[in-house]
């Protein structure tokens, strides 16, 4: 059926598919591509670069043995969380899985506290007791950082339940990967979110591989925007490498949720450059595939190019931004290296809260 092959160019269809990495060959600037102002592009550049440099530093510290356990880097996917945050307002909650450092920085959490948690130090967001996959900030309304694939989807739906209960006008931005999207509780949550019209935007970050298993080898329906169809949840496929398309779709989805129309699904078509975790065999995809994506669709390079060519920002200004970001990241690494480990007494704290009265 032609209609299925050629989705209508309306808000609820796969309007941005042409720009997606999955359709890389056909990549051309669409005529109706949303535009950013100079200030918006500068903001996006700074935020994405911070994540990129932070993650590179985390990879380095991991290699030096300062970070232990599992460490999942967000490099390549920066446009997703930054575009989403540009469309959200203060007080909206964010929750995600274990590839979470980028989300924390995007929520405004202190890079020092994040890095110190990665190194298991007392100044970390979880006082060294959570690590890479388990960090939270009630102040920034960041609810983790969850190590069980898919669990955050029910939890994020619960955050939306609380928003709905309190009628506070907030929206829960609930992220998951393409792997998590196959978990059973995701659909249980979709069902209840649609049934009760909960204010939640499900962001499926499709980076094409669940660990080492490609989407095609794991998913009967590879169009994740359709995963809510049987519950009547609208969905879109979005070019997750372009921060502008991300923000545009996010604005639409968040508005939908905030105005009491229930959940919305955004499939962000993105790509991670690094392995699943630090110990990735890199046997499941070719080096060419990775370098092609880096060269042609890098979310940060695209903004940089626009800033130079479209907005006429002098190279020196961008270099200054680069330097500033490096400084922030280096300071976080230094803090995370020198901050002491938790006091041994911390072993026995934070297990239960004191019951009051």
């Amino acid at each position: 059926m032609d209609a299925a092959k050629e989705p209508a160019k309306d808000a609820s269809s796969s309007q941005t598919q042409a720009g997606s990495p999955q359709a890389a060959e056909a990549h051309k600037p669409a005529p109706n591509m949303p535009q950013f102002t100079r200030a918006e592009d500068l903001h996006a550049y700074h935020e994405m670069l911070l994540i990129r440099r932070f993650e590179e530093k985390a990879g380095q510290l991991y290699g030096m043995g300062l970070i232990g356990g599992f460490c999942h880097l967000y490099i390549g996917q920066e446009a997703v969380v930054i575009g989403m945050q540009m469309a959200s307002v203060e007080g909206d909650q964010v929750i995600t899985g274990y590839r979470d450092h980028g989300h924390m920085l995007a929520c405004g959490m202190d890079p020092k506290g994040v890095m110190a948690e990665l190194t298991g130090r007392r100044g970390g967001y979880s006082r060294g007791k959570g690590g890479s996959m388990h960090m939270f900030s009630r102040e920034k309304q960041f609810f983790g950082g969850h190590g069980i694939v898919g669990a955050q989807v029910s939890l994020g739906t619960g955050l939306a339940f609380a928003d709905h209960y309190r009628e506070n006008g907030k929206v829960s931005l609930t992220y998951m990967g393409d792997g998590a999207a196959n978990q059973g509780q995701v659909y249980e949550s979709f069902n209840m979110a649609a049934l009760w019209k909960l204010p939640v935007v499900y962001v499926i970050e499709n980076n094409r591989y669940a660990m080492g298993t490609s989407v095609a080898r794991a998913s009967a329906q590879t169009d994740f925007s359709k995963r809510g169809l049987s519950f009547g949840i609208p969905g879109e496929q979005v070019d997750g490498m372009d921060v502008r398309t991300v923000r545009e779709a996010a604005t639409r989805a968040i508005e939908h949720a905030r105005t009491g129309q229930g959940p919305y699904i955004l499939e962000m078509q993105t790509y991670r450059y690094r392995g699943h975790s630090m110990s990735d065999p890199a046997k499941y995809r070719t080096k060419d595939e990775v370098s092609k994506m880096r060269d042609e669709h890098d979310p940060i390079e695209m903004v940089r190019k626009r800033l130079l060519e479209l907005h006429g920002v002098p190279e020196a200004e961008l270099k200054a931004t680069d330097a500033k970001v490096r400084e922030i990241v280096n300071a976080s690494a230094e803090f995370a290296t020198n901050d002491p480990e938790p006091d041994p007494s911390e072993l026995w704290t934070d297990i239960l809260l004191e019951a009051h009265a």
Partner: protein
């Protein structure tokens, strides 16, 4: 040939009910399928249908009669050619066939429940009756020893079910952040009628019927709790919470620690736990030991209605995730409950239910029924048992147990759960560490047998502990 119509049971655990209404009168012709009468319990109603043809010769139980025992003849149907005026009832209560129930449970049939029927969940009163159900002593005869309210407090008699409902209603009135969610908690009034009238009082926003998706709604409950609400998540039974155990353990219990103390999870997971009657292995598991193994959780398993009320109120107020293990067979049992505006008990304190100097019996929840009955039997043989009700499994009040053992020098434990790594095993370990020098005999455990719960009535009975086993163990540690 005249046929007796017997008082039907609505569930394997129903003992008696009310004959609410006769829809046929004496002399009426009866066809198979005719509705003869309506039966009520505190949980459900059902219609009694005729199976045989004939004439309704005699009504033996007038409408409006309460407390009609299951299997009591309630009417006589005269067969073809019989004189309705001269037929006789078969007499005393009798069973209908080999332990089967005289009538199906219409509730389930009417709803066409084929998925997750939770057999016992759909039906009547829960007073113990079926062969495998443990016998229960008269609770009124055994006054609690250490009460946590003034001696002159007026008492009301309540079932455990009513006490739990009142606890939730009181806390929901007190705090707008408290809400209940689960399967059939609202319009159905609770699969076991524990949430009766909550919907009417608090409305659908705070009494939330969920689809049958334990994993999903447990996660939603935890998420709402992380956001600061105080959910009560009801599982139709804790057997179904197996679907949700990841969210209970990995999300609810661990997030406070993993967040360095930032994100508390004030949530109560509650519902019936352990064996009911004749519901087989997948509906009979006792999870007390499982949850008690997990730091970050509190685990409560009350026996009396009073403890159920005071501890559920405490659980709802507690800022931590609390597993509140109820028991279907105890739901219908009555106990005195203090008539106080705000009766809250401390979590983590055991209660000495009966004092004695010869042997300590430690138990909790329905295990207390064996323990108390055994204590009575032992007293008749000159052995005075001290019976301790743990009430909270985690944190465990082992100090009370140790103090008792210092006095008695002997201890046995009683639980329906499995022996390996059970609650009894934990008590044994603690006594080895903390009361070794006071022990005059090895501590023995009475537990459910190390087998999946069988369905057959005789096998189920064999799988559960017995009062005789408790008595024998107590005598054995007393070397008598």
């Amino acid at each position: 040939m005249a046929t007796d119509i017997l008082m039907p049971a609505l569930s394997p655990t129903m003992e008696e009910g009310k004959l609410a209404k006769w829809l046929k009168k004496e002399g009426d012709p009866i066809k198979s399928g005719d509705v003869l009468a309506e039966i009520e319990t505190d949980k459900a109603t059902m219609e009694v249908e005729a199976i045989d043809e004939g004439v309704l010769a005699k009504i033996l139980i007038a409408e409006g009669t309460e407390g009609v025992a299951v299997n009591t003849p309630i009417a006589v149907i005269a067969g073809e050619g019989e004189d309705p005026a001269s037929v006789q009832s078969g007499g005393a209560p009798k069973t209908n066939g080999a332990g089967g129930h005289p009538a199906p449970t219409p509730d389930m049939q009417a709803e066409g429940l084929t998925e997750k029927p939770a057999p016992a969940a759909k039906t009547g009163d829960d007073a113990p009756k079926a062969p495998a159900a443990p016998s229960v002593i008269t609770n009124k005869a055994q006054e609690p020893v250490m009460e946590e309210f003034p001696a002159d407090t007026p008492m009301v008699t309540q079932t455990v079910r009513e006490a739990l409902r009142d606890a939730m209603a009181e806390e929901m009135r007190r705090d707008g952040d408290v809400f209940i969610m689960g399967e059939e908690v609202a319009e159905y009034q609770g699969a076991y009628k524990v949430t009766q009238n909550l919907l009417q009082e608090f409305g659908p926003k705070r009494v939330v019927d969920t689809p049958i998706t334990e994993h999903g709604f447990a996660g939603i409950g935890v998420g709402a709790a992380l956001a600061g609400l105080k959910p009560i998540v009801e599982f139709m039974t804790f057997n179904f919470a197996m679907q949700a155990i990841d969210q209970i353990i990995n999300s609810a219990a661990k997030t406070l620690y993993m967040s360095g103390g930032q994100l508390g999870c004030p949530i109560v997971f509650r519902g019936p736990n352990g064996a009911a009657a004749r519901v087989a292995a997948q509906h009979s598991h006792d999870y007390s030991a499982w949850y008690s193994n997990v730091p970050g959780l509190k685990v409560i398993a009350p026996y009396t209605a009073s403890d159920a009320k005071g501890l559920l109120k405490a659980a709802i107020r507690d800022p931590n995730p609390v597993i509140f293990l109820e028991n279907e067979i105890l739901y219908g049992q009555s106990f005195p409950v203090p008539k106080l505006d705000d009766f809250v008990l401390p979590i983590g304190k055991a209660k000495i239910h009966r004092t004695g100097s010869d042997v300590t019996i430690v138990s909790f929840a329905i295990g207390m029924t064996y323990a108390l009955k055994a204590a009575q039997a032992l007293a008749e043989q000159g052995i005075e048992a001290e019976v301790i009700d743990l009430r909270t499994i985690r944190p465990m009040d082992s100090a009370t147990v140790v103090e008792s053992v210092k006095k008695t020098g002997r201890c046995i434990t009683v639980e329906e759960g499995f022996p390996q790594s059970g609650v009894g095993a934990e008590i044994v370990a603690r006594l080895m560490a903390d009361a070794f020098d006071y022990l005059d005999a090895p501590v023995l455990r009475i537990t459910g047998k190390d087998v999946p719960m069988p369905y057959a009535a005789n096998l189920e009975k064999l799988a559960l502990p017995t009062v005789a086993e408790v008595v024998e163990a107590a005598k054995s540690v007393c070397y008598k």
